[in-house]
């Protein structure tokens, strides 16, 4: 068995780094001054500054959740992280305004310029601030607001203040508190009633400076009957020391709205990715989280839906791929808080080499509700003998009018399948790769075209060297 490190392949992709001059730098470490500095640089209103300072206080009080989560969290040194960097204060508006070196970075990330013409609006985050942001005219004609977090809070407080920090309160967990204190970047989106976006909105995120945490904040509001698909993809260059990424994503689907949030994540394997994602689904609305986690040292991400309106529907589809030195701790939360709400969770994980993937789930149905339904399926595939997988669902059901089913299975690729394909001339590695792709295929189909192609390629890359 040839034991090449499959991570190498991954690293090379993002293993480049341009020296950029950071115009604003809050220094290293976290203190009240740093938070005030960030707020001042962004010229924020005083309520936002107060919100940040209160969050800092909460962050300091909260303990790490190590009584159930991995002890690896203790390795994060909050004192050596840079909490704010910015290329400039305002996001650039046109492609011409984007600096050349930044353009080169995007080039390497493989976002061809012509592709953007088809994308409704591309907000590519370069470090903290959106370096490139453009909206097609027809989007603004429809009244859609697609801005960065700073812009959103400053220019449209009447829309965003109402829901900002409401779906995920600051004190939800230690990392949501951290994000609330130092957030910068991210997308604030508002879709007016009845507006259905045919093309997905998209943003690319990237961490560039060493030891620099990225704390983007996203808030998407789909007004009554609106429909939106939002996509984010992540790549990060290789660095020697650990990097922290801790985002907060809040979705609000008002009556009859539909939100689909697609994430494809491919962090380099020194990144701690600790993300809090939650949606509030009102009457007859539908929220779908589609999530693909590849790379990172530790990912902890449990997208949730609070089903608070009658007939609301929540769905989480997730794929996790854990390679050597990686721990994908992902899952889903479904909180049923209204009659006739339904939820569906399908999670598939693949552990390669010494990788570890974990599913953590939560389903709650109180007794005063009627006709709630949940379906959860988690399947895990183990490739090598050192691979590890865990499943920890928690299901609470009260009352005689609900139905919940949970099923999980763990298996390996069967020797018969490999043998069959080898008989037909495929190498063992190709056969294995094909089996893994087949395992996740029905979920990958749910991703938009360009992502599913990219995903299959990524899985092939990850599989390289693990077999044969």
């Amino acid at each position: 068995m040839i034991k090449t490190n499959p991570i190498e392949v991954d690293r090379d992709k993002g293993n480049f780094h341009y020296n950029t001059d950071y115009e604003f730098d809050a220094g290293i470490g976290l203190s009240e001054d740093v938070v005030r500095y960030i707020s001042d640089v962004k010229k924020e209103d005083s309520w936002v500054k107060d919100f940040r300072l209160k969050a800092l206080n909460t962050f300091e009080k909260k303990k790490l959740p190590t009584h159930w989560a991995t002890k690896d969290l203790e390795n994060i040194d909050f004192d050596i992280i840079r909490y704010y960097l910015s290329k400039g204060q305002m996001p650039s508006r046109t492609w011409e305004e984007v600096p050349d070196d930044v353009k080169r970075t995007f080039e390497r990330l493989g976002i061809p310029e012509q592709e953007r013409k088809f994308l409704a609006g591309v907000e590519a985050q370069f470090d903290s601030e959106a370096a490139y942001s453009r909206m097609k005219d027809d989007l603004s004609e429809k009244g859609v607001i697609f801005v960065g977090s700073t812009e959103g809070l400053k220019e449209h407080p009447e829309i965003f203040k109402k829901w900002f920090g409401k779906v995920i309160p600051t004190s939800d967990n230690k990392f949501s508190a951290l994000n609330s204190a130092v957030f910068s970047g991210g997308s604030f989106i508002y879709v007016p009633p009845g507006v259905k976006l045919e093309q997905p909105l998209q943003a690319y995120f990237r961490i560039n400076a060493e030891n620099f945490g990225q704390f983007e904040r996203t808030l998407i509001i789909a007004d009554e009957g609106a429909e939106i698909t939002y996509m984010e993809g992540c790549t990060a260059p290789k660095f020697e020391t650990s990097t922290l990424h801790s985002a907060v994503v809040e979705l609000v689907a008002l009556k009859g709205a539909k939100i689909q949030y697609v994430t494809v994540q491919n962090w380099s394997n020194n990144v701690f990715n600790l993300v809090t994602k939650r949606a509030m689904a009102h009457e007859e609305s539908e929220v779908r989280w589609i999530d693909c986690n590849i790379g990172s040292r530790l990912t902890m991400k449990y997208p949730g839906v609070i089903l608070r309106g009658r007939k609301a529907r929540g769905e989480v589809l997730s794929i996790a791929l854990a390679n050597d030195g990686q721990h994908q701790d992902t899952g889903a939360k479904m909180v049923h808080a209204a009659d006739e709400t339904t939820s569906n969770v399908i999670a598939k994980s693949v552990s390669i080499g010494e990788g570890r993937s974990t599913y953590r789930g939560l389903v709650q149905m109180p007794g005063h509700l009627k006709h709630c339904k949940n379906n959860t399926e988690c399947d895990a595939l183990l490739i090598n003998s050192d691979s590890q997988t865990d499943t920890y669902p928690a299901i609470t059901v009260q009352g005689e009018d609900h139905s919940v089913q949970h099923e999980a299975s763990v298996s390996k690729v069967s020797a018969e399948q490999i043998f069959y394909m080898q008989q037909r001339g495929l190498s063992e590695a190709d056969a294995m790769s094909m089996c893994v792709n087949g395992f996740v295929n029905d979920l990958i189909r749910e991703f938009p075209m360009e992502y599913s192609v990219e995903l299959k390629r990524l899985i092939d890359l990850e599989m390289e060297g693990s077999v044969g």
């Binding site: 009584h67 159930w68 007794g367 005063h368 895990a380 183990l382 490739i383 090598n384 003998s385 050192d386 691979s387 590890q388 997988t389 865990d390 499943t391 920890y392 669902p393 928690a394 299901i395 609470t396 059901v397 009260q398 009352g399 005689e400 009018d401 609900h402 139905s403 919940v404 089913q405 949970h406 099923e407 999980a408 299975s409 763990v410 298996s411 390996k412």
Partner: protein
């Protein structure tokens, strides 16, 4: 309100040093190793007292209900363990722990250091090790021509009292035994607590058939901790029926230590009123080629609550493991609650592990069918529920016993 709060904080006498010293002096006749064990356990009990409230092993559990604060002292009844029936045999040993300690203490000393299931109930574990004053010891030799059947009654004490039982079941290589344990109350006023800790050591190729029926009086408390150590090619079929007591904490752990072991654990809960059944299990695979199967079915009426937390743990050495775990809950009322925490921790890749958990209500079509034939709703519910748990009852081989269990379940629907 304030008074209530103060009351729950009162720790019973038996946590105090005086009580322990008095207890120890009353048991001065016991061998030295046992005195050491009791002392050590008592010290651990004091150390572990300030447990964190956020213990995952107590998730969903109203821990205050499962404490010992409502007991004043320890029952000193020496008749709380009784052998009902046993087929004759000369090679096998069974008796109460007290008698063994008097006649042949060395038999037990070999197993003094055995650990418990260790699934969270450390308080019960240490208390039982400190204060056990009853229990049984069974050692079965490996003569395949003799199939031993034993039936044992554990009796719950009066209100305010708690009994601690520590039991040992040792099956030599190729031994076969059927063990029936009944947990009962003498009458309706026996509302005390019964904490039971059992170590099972199953030798190579041995077979254990164990049936546990808990039908204690309303208002009583039940703690049952059991640890099964399975050696090569041994089989354990464990059937547990939980019907009584106000609150129960049940911890069952099967350690599949050597290749070819097979652990099957079936249980049902029939809960009503404000009953709480907090059930934690673990199937720990340490060796290759083992299989384990768990099926837990709960029927809950009125305001009953059940918690099922099961874990399948497969070590990296345990290749070619086959492990299953299923939890099915049937809720018959608005206030009933079922919590499920099915878990998997898999470190080996060549395994087949699945778990499933479902919770729902009665099939409305089935109910309608019965109602339309003139059967009363309560009886219809009882019939469907009985059918639901028949899958568990059917695992009991003894015809008379299965009928007894069915009757007990039917009584719950009156």
């Amino acid at each position: 309100m304030i008074q209530e709060k103060v009351q729950t904080k009162i720790t019973p006498d038996f946590f105090s040093e005086d009580y322990f010293e008095k207890f120890a002096s009353n048991h001065s006749w016991e061998p030295g190793w046992l005195a050491d064990l009791r002392k050590e356990s008592w010290e651990r009990l004091r150390e572990d007292q300030d447990f964190s409230l956020k213990d995952e092993r107590w998730r969903f559990s109203p821990k205050s209900r499962l404490g010992y604060s409502h007991f004043e002292s320890i029952s000193d009844s020496s008749h709380s363990v009784k052998f009902n029936q046993a087929s004759e045999s000369s090679e096998n040993i069974w008796d109460t722990v007290d008698n063994i300690l008097l006649d042949n203490p060395d038999l037990i000393s070999d197993f003094a250091e055995i650990s418990g299931p260790n699934l969270g109930a450390t308080e019960s574990f240490h208390l039982t090790n400190t204060y056990f004053n009853n229990g049984f010891f069974i050692k079965v030799s490996g003569n395949p021509s003799q199939k031993l059947q034993l039936s044992i009654d554990h009796t719950c004490p009066q209100e305010g009292l708690v009994s601690f039982h520590k039991n040992y079941v040792v099956l030599d290589d190729f031994a076969e035994v059927t063990l029936i344990e009944n947990f009962i109350s003498e009458n309706d006023t026996s509302q005390g607590g019964l904490s039971n800790l059992t170590h099972f050591k199953i030798g190579k190729g041995a077979k254990l058939n164990r049936i546990l029926i808990q039908n204690m009086a309303d208002g009583s408390s039940f703690h049952n901790l059991e640890n099964f150590d399975l050696h090569a090619n041994s089989t354990v079929v464990n059937v547990e029926c939980f019907l009584g007591a106000n609150q129960s904490r049940i911890e069952t752990k099967g350690n599949l230590l050597q290749s070819g072991a097979n652990f099957e654990n079936f249980s049902f809960v029939s809960g009503r009123k404000e009953q709480l059944f907090d059930q934690r299990t673990e199937q720990h695979h340490l060796a290759p080629h083992c299989s384990s199967n768990l099926l837990s079915k709960n029927v809950l009426q009125e305001e009953a609550k059940s918690i099922f937390a099961g874990l399948i743990k497969v070590d990296s050495e345990a290749q070619e493991t086959n492990a299953l775990q299923t939890n099915r809950n049937l809720l018959l009322s608005k206030e009933a609650e079922a919590d499920s925490l099915p878990g998997l921790e898999i470190l080996a890749n060549d395994v087949r592990c699945t778990h499933g958990a479902t919770t729902s209500r009665l099939d409305q079509e089935e109910l309608f069918y019965l109602l339309s034939r003139g059967i009363e709703k309560k009886s219809a519910e009882s019939l469907i529920s009985l059918g639901f748990i028949e899958e568990i009852i059917g695992k009991v081989q003894d015809e008379d016993l299965t009928q007894t269990i069915r009757d007990l379940v039917c009584n719950h629907f009156k």
